[in-house]
């Protein structure tokens, strides 16, 4: 896939602190790229730099092959941004506000485009209401609407579902997924299941530095501590010698009611569940559990952030 965004060695220094340090990652065309990190990790700073709202102290960023700079008018209509605090004029009605945004971006038929976005984001009932009087969920929808009303092919969404009720979260996630059919999306969050639900690729940032970047299976492969096979037998039985299947190590064992469970890691991440089951049963033991465990994204994330403490 083509790279739409290339961030290369970008740093941003604020007086007295380094917010982002030597950050490099790429975003592929048509993907939803999750930008993951705890609060204060440097996500918003990086996203504002990509949107051309904040200069980088060093490094280069290119979007659609063009260097990101506030004077680059070509890029202005290609980036849609929903910042952490949506830029809403609270004294304006929803429809008027969206029409203003469309006109500022010189949309050919602003009314049609506003109509389309209002209907897609279920804003029909509140279109005439002042933005300041709307609930947080609706305000966030209006914020998302302003980012897409001029049909930018690249969207930057900074924690779009933060602090919303579960129903709105599900609706917005579905909508963002739908948007990715025609757009590339850089999506920041600190909610890990959200990333697993909707993102194709992720970049993990912590304390202003990139800890990992790539697609989800790649990240899993890179950061797991070996393929773990979980085997459970009856609590009063002992696990036989399994060395005929390969070199292995028992990383953990514990008793759970009537069952004794073992975590086994075979050399070269060997997945020998079929032979293992056959061997245990062949020895006359009672096999109660046999499965493979890969670490959750949350484990990887915690592991990475704790490593640096």
């Amino acid at each position: 896939m083509d790279k739409i965004l290339e961030v290369d060695g970008v740093s941003r220094e604020f007086p007295g602190r380094m917010a982002v340090s030597n950050v490099s990652f790429n975003v592929l065309k048509g993907s939803i790229h999750g930008f993951l990190g705890p609060n204060g990790a440097g996500k918003s700073t990086t996203m504002r730099m990509i949107a051309g709202l904040l200069p980088a102290s060093s490094g280069t960023m290119t979007l659609f092959g063009e260097k990101i700079h506030p004077d680059n008018l070509n890029l202005k209509n290609k980036i849609g941004l929903l910042p952490e605090n949506a830029p809403l004029y609270l004294d304006m009605p929803v429809e008027k506000y969206l029409t203003l945004v469309a006109k500022l971006h010189k949309v050919a038929h602003p009314k049609d485009q506003v109509e389309k976005v209002i209907s897609e984001l279920s804003l029909i009932d509140v279109r005439k209401r002042l933005i300041g009087n709307l609930s947080k969920g609706y305000k966030q929808r209006v914020g998302l609407a302003q980012a897409i009303v001029y049909d930018a092919p690249f969207l930057i969404l900074d924690e779009p579902t933060n602090g919303l009720d579960p129903q709105t979260v599900v609706e917005l996630r579905e909508y963002i997924k739908k948007l990715s059919e025609t757009k590339t999306i850089l999506f920041s969050t600190h909610i890990l299941p959200e990333v697993e639900h909707i993102c194709d690729q992720i970049t993990i940032i912590h304390q202003g530095k990139i800890r990992a970047s790539g697609n989800l299976p790649e990240i899993h492969r890179k950061f797991r501590q070996g393929l773990v096979l979980k085997v459970g037998i009856r609590h009063d039985e002992a696990l036989p010698d399994l060395s005929e299947l390969g070199k292995y190590e028992i990383t953990h064992e514990h008793t759970l009611g009537l069952e004794k469970q073992y975590d086994l890691v075979f050399e070269n991440d060997l997945d020998c569940r079929a032979d293992l089951g056959k061997l245990i049963i062949g020895r006359g033991l009672h096999l109660m559990t046999l499965n493979v465990e890969s670490p959750e994204l949350e484990d990887i994330f915690l592991h990475m952030t704790e490593l640096r403490k």
Binding site: L54, P55, P70, L73, K76, P87, Y89, M92, L100, L104
Partner: protein, 251 residues
């Protein structure tokens, strides 16, 4: 693009009670001033012998004083109008919306200045009744009245440019408003400083930099190139500083 932003800003003024409160208050104060000036003029005329009364000019005593007082009112009214223009956008982080679009800083600043001038225009339009009364009383000097309006409008333009700059400096509206008031007072004091200084050259420089001498000349109908150049350069300087102040924070 300037039209779109001007329309948005003007609608924003007129969709809040602030504009109507300001227009109402301005009409009330300026109306009271006009009435008092008229009463005081007629009292003076009647109180002194007729041959001396001819020396008291209606233009000086009523018309010029009225417009000088309107200029004084702008010391408070203009900062109230301009203080929110950038401060509020900073507080609500809505400038991002503008910087993400192809709108330039000059377009934004000009649109905001024109919107503030529109509100000032709406306030001044409430005073149209005064020239009509003066006209009806037989003082039919159209050029003097129009230059008086030009003088207050030019002054308002300068105060707006200064107010916009102050608003771009702070995310706090109160601070922006107070800075504007201090700035306008400083402009007036420059002229007074010129009067107090015994050195002719220094006095001339103070007098040129201060706004009052230019205002007084135009108010009396003496619209000179040097005054127009002064007003144009003043407005340009502060609008330019506003643009620079916005640019410094964003890139």
């Amino acid at each position: 693009m300037i039209y779109t932003l001007w329309k948005k800003e003007t609608e924003s003024y007129f969709s809040s009670p602030l504009a109507y409160v300001l227009i109402g208050l301005f009409s009330l104060i300026s109306g009271t001033l006009f009435f008092n000036l008229l009463v005081s003029y007629t009292d003076n005329i009647q109180a002194i012998p007729q041959h001396m009364a001819q020396g008291i000019s209606f233009i000086d005593e009523v018309v010029l004083r009225l417009f000088a007082n309107i200029n004084f009112l702008f010391l408070f009214f203009v900062p109230l109008i301009t203080m929110k223009l950038f401060s509020e956008e900073k507080r609500l982080e809505t400038l991002d919306l503008i910087w993400l679009s192809p709108v330039g800083e000059w377009q934004l600043v000009l649109a905001k200045a024109l919107a503030a001038l529109t509100l000032i225009g709406a306030m001044l339009s409430m005073t149209i009744i005064f020239p009509l009364i003066i006209w009806g009383a037989g003082i039919q000097d159209f050029s003097l009245l129009s230059s008086a309006y030009l003088a207050v409008l030019l002054n308002a333009g300068c105060y707006i440019a200064l107010g916009l700059f102050c608003s771009s400096l702070s995310g706090n509206q109160i601070i922006a408003g107070l800075l504007s008031i201090l700035g306008i007072m400083f402009l007036w004091m420059l002229t007074w400083g010129g009067h107090l200084n015994s050195n002719y050259l220094v006095a001339q420089i103070f007098s040129y930099i201060g706004i009052t001498s230019h205002f007084e000349r135009i108010l009396r109908g003496l619209v000179g190139t040097q005054d127009l150049v002064y007003y144009a350069s003043f407005m340009f300087l502060f609008l330019f500083l506003t643009v620079k102040s916005l640019g410094r924070r964003n890139w």
